[in-house]
């Protein structure tokens, strides 16, 4: 299928992109890697009058270091994040999760920013971003603001990025030396997560000192399994102790029921995947 007609601009700076957005108002749609937006336009689920392509804005691309943070430009592709030693070393949970997104072709085009603003609850980038307590840099005509991960995801396909604003970067606090694992459950290769669990832990002498757990597709937004995080602190990284702590993985969640599984099944999966993810992250 072919999208409805639209006007197209490809600004080369954030300032020009914001000006184009302001001028077009809500008739405009921002295009990043296009791996979610183009299917939507092709199916005519949306028909913007103007498409503003961020693909030529170099300042939005790339990974850098800023003190205790790794900074990833919104237009950095999945493939470039996967290739980044900085991300692997300091935020390995993100590397693990992005390796599980879609397929190589889509990872060559899709961007971290596009994935996060699209905010599909079954998407694989939200839960690790949340677990790593990522800060979201949002830029509008009034300047830049930073939003905490806990406030970024608001509802199904809804984030803190307002009309006329762009997500320009994410700032991921360094978790150097933390173990990490993304456990994604699918029935067939190349499927969206039925449920996935993102776990990163700091182990100190065989004991879990700190844990961060994010859940994919267990509600309308990515969620933190805070009960499990707390229960894990001070526990030995053994199967028995981790199993017990992870029994609370579905607490406070509201997973969907669909052809891939009903919500009870997803709750069960969350506990199993959390145990696997934590044990692997702890190197046990």
């Amino acid at each position: 299928m072919i999208p409805a007609s639209f006007d197209y601009v490809a600004p080369t700076s954030v300032a020009d992109a914001l000006a184009a957005l302001a001028e077009a108002g809500d008739d405009a749609k921002v295009l990043a890697g296009g791996q979610s937006l183009l299917p939507i336009l092709r199916m005519r689920l949306n028909a913007p009058e103007k498409v503003i392509d961020l693909g030529r804005i170099e300042e939005l691309k790339g990974v850098s270091e800023d003190g205790d943070h790794v900074v990833i430009g919104a237009m950095t592709t999945y493939a470039d994040v996967l290739a980044s030693d900085l991300v692997r070393q300091h935020a390995g949970l993100l590397t693990d999760a992005i390796a599980e997104v879609a397929d190589p072709q889509i990872r060559h085009r899709g961007t971290v920013g596009g994935a996060l603003v699209h905010a599909d609850p079954a998407g694989d980038v939200g839960a690790p971003a949340l677990a790593l307590e990522t800060e979201f840099v949002i830029t509008g005509s009034g300047g830049e603001r930073t939003v905490a991960a806990a406030d970024f995801f608001q509802d199904l396909f809804e984030t803190a990025v307002g009309e006329g604003e762009l997500l320009t970067a994410i700032r991921v606090p360094k978790h150097t030396g933390w173990g990490h694992r993304y456990e994604k459950f699918v029935r067939v290769s190349h499927q969206w997560s039925i449920v996935a669990v993102a776990a990163t832990v700091r182990v100190d002498g065989g004991t879990i000192a700190e844990a961060r757990i994010g859940l994919t597709n267990m509600g309308s937004t990515p969620l933190r399994a805070t009960a499990v995080e707390q229960a894990l602190v001070g526990k030995a990284a053994t199967d028995e102790a981790v199993r017990e702590a992870c029994a609370a993985a579905a607490e406070g969640t509201n997973p969907p029921s669909d052809l891939n599984g009903d919500s009870d099944y997803r709750r069960h999966l969350a506990t199993v995947l959390a145990r696997r993810a934590v044990l692997a992250a702890a190197g046990a």
Binding site: M1, I2, P3, A4, S5, F6, D7, Y8, A10, L31, G34, Q35, L38, P39, L41, R42, M43, V51, D53, G55, A79, A102, D103, P104, Q105, I106, H108, R109, S189, H190
Partner: protein, 173 residues
């Protein structure tokens, strides 16, 4: 209409396109390069895979205007002087196709896999091809073909061998 300049299979083109034109439709309908096919409406099947600046993409999920100023290689740009690319030859030798519909995309993605991992394990081949669906072969002979091509050193050569700005290392095989 928007004017774009694209290098496709080593030839420079400059064309007027509607911004909504998908890259695959530009290739097939405006350039007549029907070697690249459309197999689905959801960007799942991979039949339309081409290389954009040396990296595989699904050309049904890229706008032609996004390719402006870039380098595209399709299945039609692989053979040199009547000689099949080693990956094409390997698909032929290993009977890695039946109806052949998935083959253009499968070959383009298989070359991308070898560009990343010149000596892949069977699992790396299967995972590398996860975005390409085949309804005929059961994948077995496709995996064999990629193994044969890897043995023959077919790690590069998606570029049409011109001066175009492909990011691929190495010389076309």
């Amino acid at each position: 209409m928007t004017r774009i300049s694209v290098t496709v299979d080593g030839v420079d083109y400059s064309d007027e396109v509607e911004p909504r034109t998908l890259l695959v439709h530009y290739l097939r309908e405006q350039l007549g390069k029907t070697g690249t096919v459309v197999g689905c409406d959801t960007s799942n099947c991979g039949a339309c895979t081409v290389h954009l600046d040396g990296r595989s993409v699904k050309s049904c999920n890229v706008l032609a205007v996004q390719a402006d100023g870039h380098d595209v290689t399709t299945i039609e740009g692989l053979a040199k002087d009547g000689e099949l690319h080693p990956m094409q030859q390997a698909f032929h030798d290993c009977h890695a196709l039946q109806c052949g519909y998935c083959t253009p995309g499968m070959i383009m993605q298989a070359i991308d896999v070898l560009n990343d991992t010149p000596d892949p394990s069977e699992e790396q081949i299967r995972v590398g091809l996860e975005g390409n669906l085949c309804r005929c072969t059961g994948y077995h002979n496709i995996v064999k073909a990629v193994q044969q091509a890897a043995g023959a050193g077919a790690t590069t050569g998606s570029s049409a061998g011109t001066t175009s700005g492909s990011t691929l290392g190495g010389e076309p095989v």
